[in-house]
Symmetry: D2
Subunit: 262 residues, 4 copies
């Protein structure tokens, strides 16, 4: 059985910042969130690559995009730096079967918003309050081995109203000490590609060190991996499949030959 090819993309900005924030961030993720996750998610059935915005072609050359089964994404302050053309390529690759796992503040990444079509805005507050996470379907592969409820002692609050489309299937929902609630784990499908948004995670709170959070991400990779590759769909199919005719058969004309695309 071939390995699932995972690419973890990180904007990798906070980890290299000066000031208090950089210090706090490097305390938990000295080589970056992407390298940290690549380490804790390592497994025999996965081939994991950790890349970042500061690399050539923003870390995602065409050959790597094509060779990726599941793309994980961490971004926060540098969303606008990501090339629009790259976003279009990635969105097309998702529709063609690549799994996509936007994490935490990637709810506002260009790629997630491009795939959702909505603003993806939400309420937020950063006072280090407690979050309690609930599994909503009683059995789901992404929640396998995860307790029905577990807590994160200090987190950034993300709260409803979360502006996402109605086809999101809720896998996790969160309670916050300060009075908010949030659909914190939601799946979507776009074309052949499976998407799982998961909000727990942060640059200074050590949330990716939580074993349940790691378990969810590990499950999500296997869930999002494509069953199939290569969508060889052909749009223009000039021949009718049925040789059926109305009572007064017409002289049929293919007027599409007259069109010029601008």
């Amino acid at each position: 059985m071939s390995k699932i090819k995972v690419t973890i993309w990180n904007e990798f900005v906070h980890e290299q910042e000066g000031g208090a924030l950089g210090v706090l961030c490097r305390q938990w993720y000295p080589q970056g969130i992407h390298k940290y996750l690549a380490g804790v998610l390592a497994a025999d059935d996965l081939e994991i690559r950790a890349v970042s915005l500061d690399m050539p072609e923003q870390g995602l050359p065409d050959a790597l995009i094509e060779d990726t089964d599941v793309l994980m994404w961490w971004g926060h302050v540098a969303h606008s730096k990501v090339d629009d053309a790259l976003v279009e390529k990635l969105a097309a690759r998702v529709c063609n079967g690549m799994g996509f796992i936007p994490m935490h503040s990637a709810h506002l990444s260009k790629l997630f918003r491009r795939l959702m079509g909505t603003s993806c805005t939400l309420h937020w507050r950063e006072v280090g309050e407690k979050e309690r996470i609930w599994t909503v379907p009683r059995k789901h592969p992404i929640a396998a081995g995860v307790p029905e409820t577990f807590t994160i002692p200090h987190t950034e609050m993300y709260g409803e109203a979360f502006d996402i489309p109605d086809d999101g299937k809720i896998i996790f929902t969160s309670w916050y000490e300060g009075g908010n609630v949030f659909r914190s784990g939601v799946t979507f499908q776009r074309g052949n590609g499976k998407i799982f948004y998961f909000s727990p995670g942060h640059e200074t709170f050590p949330i990716y060190h939580n074993e349940n959070v790691q378990k969810v991400l590990a499950n999500a990779i296997r869930w999002a991996a494509p069953d199939f590759r290569d969508d060889s769909f052909v749009s223009h199919t000039p021949q009718p499949l049925e040789t059926v005719y109305s009572e007064n058969p017409l002289e049929k004309i293919d007027t599409s030959a007259l069109h010029k695309t601008l």
Copy 2:
């Protein structure tokens, strides 16, 4: 009761073309599809504006976008000419409540694809075959007054697989003489905005002259009109709503103040 403000946008290219196609198109729509639809859809409760790509600001200055309740869209060969910035503005306006009715080949318009997140591709064939349209929900406002089934004698075939998200509610589905089927009328919601895609329509077949097609579009305008205006959503809500504390209350820190957005 105030009127529903409708803006009909047309790329207005085929109608001005030289050659056989232009002649065929002007035969049915001498002043353009937008002007024709503005005429047949005119009603006391509507204020209709017909605009086109060749107008200043591509026909959609900010003041008009803001003043539009329902945007109808016809495009075919000039999708790529529409400014990306305009598309982003319109997508945000839909999420903020504006109704959107992409028609026929607008399935590949930037705006519809931006709101769907998928490729929106489909099978197509242009041999003038018969289309039979079925209403799927037994009662729906968009189908009010329309027969359960009706035909269009000569049409361009649009067939499954249609690459749209799973939250599309099917209002109409089509049968084609040549052996294909298609979800030809589908509703979506993105943010506060209601969307209705309707495939019947064409530049050379006189499909917008069909009274059932006109009835569907007239119904769709009323359905898509927003119940409300002005989404005054505020994302950052720094104060907890509940003054509740864990057993070991923490020194809470608002680290968001440390962030700089690039």
Copy 3:
């Protein structure tokens, strides 16, 4: 404009009980929850009938069912007393267009479970804790005039995992002091009928005295009222619509005439 015909059904058991519970219940609803709601929801565009399980034909004779646009339902300990045949009649009436608003513990009513197809079970706890309710869509007719968030000081907790189908559109979601979350207001459609489940409400806590709860119920009635009546759908349609034939036309046989239904 004709009035919306609303029928409020109540099992009307707790209100007539002896013991502490009966006393607590009658304190808020001396004539029963159904009569109380009929009073506070009274409006010029509504014709409201309050009925109960102890009435002839369990309060719902055929003529009343047929004459009802929106059925509200309160049940708790007497679900099993409701006739199965009545449940089937009501389910068919919903599919034929009647709106249905199951309230609070009606999540386990036969009718709601019949329409959902799932167990409709959930977590629950009754310690009088605080509930905070959030509106999830930023604009929705059921939430019109209701604050984005409001609280109920003492409530029974209903928590996830709530076993309902995936087509539920979340209108409200609740936070509980004790650490749970819940999809507390959810819409569905079954056939032509609109359904709105709303969990706030109780027999001893005075939750139906809350003006926001009343506002939600008032909105829901208008939302659930049918646009149309009379589904005259005919299943057997023996004549083909298209007189089209395969290359080798067949002798077509209507074998359905051979069938006998047992």
Copy 4:
């Protein structure tokens, strides 16, 4: 790896009928549709049991229900003979994880209607016309190895409007020679259980002899098999999870102890 335990239930009436219909049916299914399908679907990873309505406990004793991973169902004229109590047991077993594959005229079976909550009615016509089936998602496990489109030369027509809930994901859609269309393969989830309705199949047309139809059913069994067993969900959870209190802590009362269920 343990085998998937499949139970194929058949009302087994047409096959034992006198008259022309019985002769036509036995021509293709001499031992019954259930025995025929058990033969053609046999595989190393499956343990298949074929049962029928005329067996003790209508073919489905409790021990067999509990031991079934995927239940396939064929019924037509004897729906009303199936015990209501058996239907309730099976519906609960589906919510607890058992896969369910209703076939052809099982759209009107009590169990499918119980799980859908709708009337499940549709248009139908039996003149032996041609059906053309299309795969709607470009890649789906149920369609693996099946051509994008294939035909059945003579079939019973099932046509829209098909009264099913909106959460049905369309896997196959059908075109009929006589002018109708139909969502002929649709998935649902109810609780932990996966459901796949598939309309191709009939008692006298040899549709289960079609290799593509067999491939779809074989795929569907693997798709519907549960990932997990045993839903040990406990509804009443009297202890709060968070020891948090409002500013004015209340004397909390568990009033649930006062309730008596009738």
